[in-house]
Amino acid sequence: MSAPGRPRIAYRRRASPLHATRGTVVGAYCAAISVAALMTEHPLLLGSLLATVLCAGAAAGDGPQLLRALRRSAIPLFALSVAVNLLVSRQGLTVFARLGDWGALGQVNLTLEALVCGAVFALRLLVVGLACVLAVCAADPDQLLGSFRRLSPRVALSATLALRLVPVLAADASRLAEAQRCRPGARGRSPGARERLAVLRATVAGALERSLDVAAVLEMRGYPSPRRAARKLGARSRHDLAFAASAGAIALAALACALDGVARFHAYPLVSAPLDPAVVALALALPAIALAPFLDRAGIEP
């Protein structure tokens, strides 16, 4: 059984402006933050975007999920990216450690520039990854699938099946693991690699049966019907408009910044990240634009 009370990285409707926004707009909002992170290399702007996505997650009530993702995946990935770049990059002039001859890797010197370059790359990954986690936690998957279905029914069918099976199989695996703890001799000790493998094998074996059950239900509810799904009722809410405007503004700001070349950044041969007033202004403006829609808390019941 999974530890009770642990924040699951999954959609859950909460009382927040972001959750009161339709799924497609939430997707666009998170995509805008990701695009902005991919279009800039300046560490100050990336730091600003990281703070933005964390604050947006906290304002939406999904802070624990984001922190969990940060702790479990993002930070290890960050460390790995930095370490790999540090060991592999031969560029940079400011050597801070000489590790000698590493055989196939040759002479390994660690440089400040390689460290910064790796950190910037990892920071981009971090922002994009956390924006995706925010989208998973805040975008209603049913609305997203409904939109997808109008574009491609087959893709939507596969996505629905996969989305539904993830929690079902996770629950199966959890139950199987718990049942194994009821075997004589298994109580009071953690399962070994063999037991874990047996549980994994049984879960995979059960996946086919489970997917057949879910597919049968989809079939009986007319999912493969060739009829086009009806568009949902309802005008766009104030939150839809606010977050859509925010997403557009973030994307435009990032695009303008990239085209104008304001936020210049070079890691090699020496680190260069000039702090122009425009960059500082943008670093302050991006969170303000992104977080402004959270101030309107009207009509946000879960």
Partner: protein, 584 residues
């Protein structure tokens, strides 16, 4: 024109040695409420799957004959097309729900059929109101309890306003309250909207009162097709395992006709002068077991405590056969709390002392904390407050016996000695998933019991799900035998009829608290939902909760009424007590 017609339908699953359906012919009229009965493996679920088109489209195999559902030939039309006319609900709610929110789940089928948005919205609201789930509409489906999930799945099947609803054991995972509610919602739908219902159900006592007609299946054939009364007469003669407890009480007491529900049974008894309403209403409410107590009630509180002027049935209290406690308790819980982080408390200060030789049933609604309590007993969870003390080994079998099996052969799952003890040595080379439900249950028991030392306690969580009456009876006998050998038997179940077959003590939980704890006759005899059909018929008189006890009581009353009996009623009641003791 019939809404559902089977014409000489035979069907075999791919690779199966024997056909699942043999030459089945039947028809269901619009607005009919039809219950399908039968032992495990009799072909009930396959019949339903053939009606909704999953057989043969989804399962393959060899199919002969014709099935017309709402006039659509299932060989020609897909399950999706048939689904527009026939809503289907299978037994596992977890795989019946496919969307993330309740509103999206109910509107799913409607949107797929291309209904206008306004029609979808209206239908969702109306269906939710009809099934009493309007307050769930904006909830996530993964937050729902089993009962809520089943009702949401039913709403999904009903939203499109089908002319026919096909249901495969929809109450198997529900507590008695939720199960009864679901059946009555179906009856209401049937009466108010003229929707035909075909319901496969193991606990017939729950639904026969609502049914117009019963189909009994055996070996893939329809062997009986009659009204509920006619079916009960047929079952009494040909397949006693399908009889409802109420019908068995009447049959054993020599009364006719056999009743299909509590209301009919009470009316018949009243007519015969065998029901003393004022007396038994009081008896049913009397003798509350010790509430919230850690120590089990001794059964001394009696029905004689009711108001003045009410004549009580002279009840001799059975002394609880629980262990004397000389050797100390096998399992003791002291102030056990289980509180979720950022969530509610599942157990709230549970005090419980369970001795060797006791057969204890743990009851309560879905979410009352039964499974959590068993997990604490088995050491799978630790209390956030309080203490759990277990003396000796406890063999814990969780809800799905199949979860224990991770090997390819039965012999690899448990030792040969354990297999032999449970009569499974002949199956040693079979795959665990290829054996029947009852055999699977026994194999799971063999796995958890297969340690070096015999466990001092056996705990089972909902062991009767999907079991037919015969398999339940065998399991109850086995559990009683283990208790007689001195083991503590602790079983969480919603099945009151099964509970009274083995248990000597009942513990009722509500919202994580023990609200009643005492002799099974007291706790279950005084209830409305958490009680047996026999007790409901007799209003809990004389603490008669088992069929044999209720039948003996009725025989005594008949003899008393006709002045034939050699024993006075009190003597008969002593006989009932002896009977109860022997059965346990």
């Amino acid at each position: 024109m019939s809404i559902l017609t089977f014409e000489r339908v035979s069907y075999s699953y791919p690779g199966a040695a024997a056909p699942a359906l043999r030459d089945v012919s039947l028809s269901v009229d619009p607005g009919e409420f039809c219950v399908v009965a039968g032992l495990s493996g009799s072909g009930k679920s396959t019949l339903l799957r053939a009606a909704c088109g999953l057989v043969p489209h989804f399962h393959g195999g060899s199919f002969g004959g014709t099935v017309l559902t709402a006039g659509l030939d299932t060989r020609v039309h897909s399950p999706a097309e048939i689904g527009a006319h026939a809503g289907t609900l299978l037994s596992d709610p977890e795989t019946q729900v496919v969307m993330a929110s309740v509103r999206a789940e109910i509107s799913f089928a409607l949107e797929n059929r291309g209904l206008a948005a306004a029609a979808v919205a209206r239908s969702v609201e109306e269906t939710a109101l009809a099934l009493g789930i309007a307050d769930l509409l904006d909830r996530s489906t993964d937050e729902l309890s089993g009962g809520e999930l089943q009702r949401v799945a039913l709403a999904g099947a009903l939203a499109a306003g089908p002319e026919l609803v096909l249901l495969d054991e929809p109450t198997s995972q529900l507590d008695p309250v939720a199960g009864d509610e679901l059946i009555w919602q179906l009856r209401r739908l049937n009466q108010e909207c003229d929707t035909a219902v075909v319901l496969v159900e193991q606990r017939l006592e729950r639904c026969l009162g609502a049914a117009d007609r019963v189909l009994a299946m055996s070996g893939g054939e329809v062997v009986c097709d009659r009204d509920p009364g006619g079916f009960l007469e047929w079952a009494a003669e040909h397949q006693p395992a399908l009889q409802t407890p109420g019908a068995r009480v009447f049959a054993d007491a020599g009364l006719r006709p056999l009743p299909s529900g509590v209301k009919q049974a009470r009316a018949l008894l009243r007519r015969e002068g065998l029901l003393h309403d004022a007396q038994e209403l009081g008896a049913g409410q009397a003798g509350p077991a010790r509430a919230g107590s850690g120590e089990a009630g001794s059964g001394e509180a009696g029905p004689g405590e009711a108001g003045p002027g009410v004549r009580r049935a002279p009840v001799r209290r059975r002394k609880g056969p629980r262990g004397s406690g000389e050797a100390g308790p096998v399992l003791q819980m002291r102030g056990v709390w289980h509180e979720l982080r950022d969530g509610p408390a599942i157990l709230r200060g549970v005090d419980l002392r369970l001795d060797g030789g006791e057969a204890v049933v743990l009851m309560g609604r879905n979410g009352a904390g039964k499974s959590t309590l068993l997990r604490h007993a088995g050491g799978l969870m630790s209390p956030t407050r309080g203490r759990v003390q277990l003396h000796g080994e406890l063999a814990l079998l969780l809800q799905n016996p199949g979860d224990l099996f991770v090997h390819e052969r039965v012999r690899d799952e448990a030792s040969l000695d354990a297999l032999r003890e449970l009569g499974l040595e002949a199956l040693a080379d079979r795959h665990p998933r290829d054996i029947s439900g009852g055999q699977r249950q026994r194999l799971a028991l063999a796995v958890v019991l297969g340690g070096e030392r015999a466990p001092g306690a056996i705990a089972l969580d909902e062991p009767t799900r999907g079991m037919d009456r015969e398999a339940k009876r065998r399991l109850a006998t086995w559990l009683s035998a283990r208790a007689r050998e001195g083991a503590l038997v602790l079983v969480a179940t919603h099945d009151c009829e099964f509970a009274v077959e083995f248990a000597t003590r009942a513990v009722l939980l509500a919202r994580g608290r023990v609200i009643a704890d005492g002799h099974v006759g007291e706790v279950l005899g005084g209830g409305r939902y958490f009680t047996t059909e026999s007790a409901r018929i007799l209003g809990g008189a004389a603490g008669a909760v088992r069929v044999e006890e209720a039948a003996a009581l009725l025989r005594a009353r008949r003899e008393e009424a006709s002045g034939v009996g050699s024993l006075p009623a009190t003597g008969r009641l002593a006989e009932i007590d002896d009977l109860a003791g022997a059965g346990r």
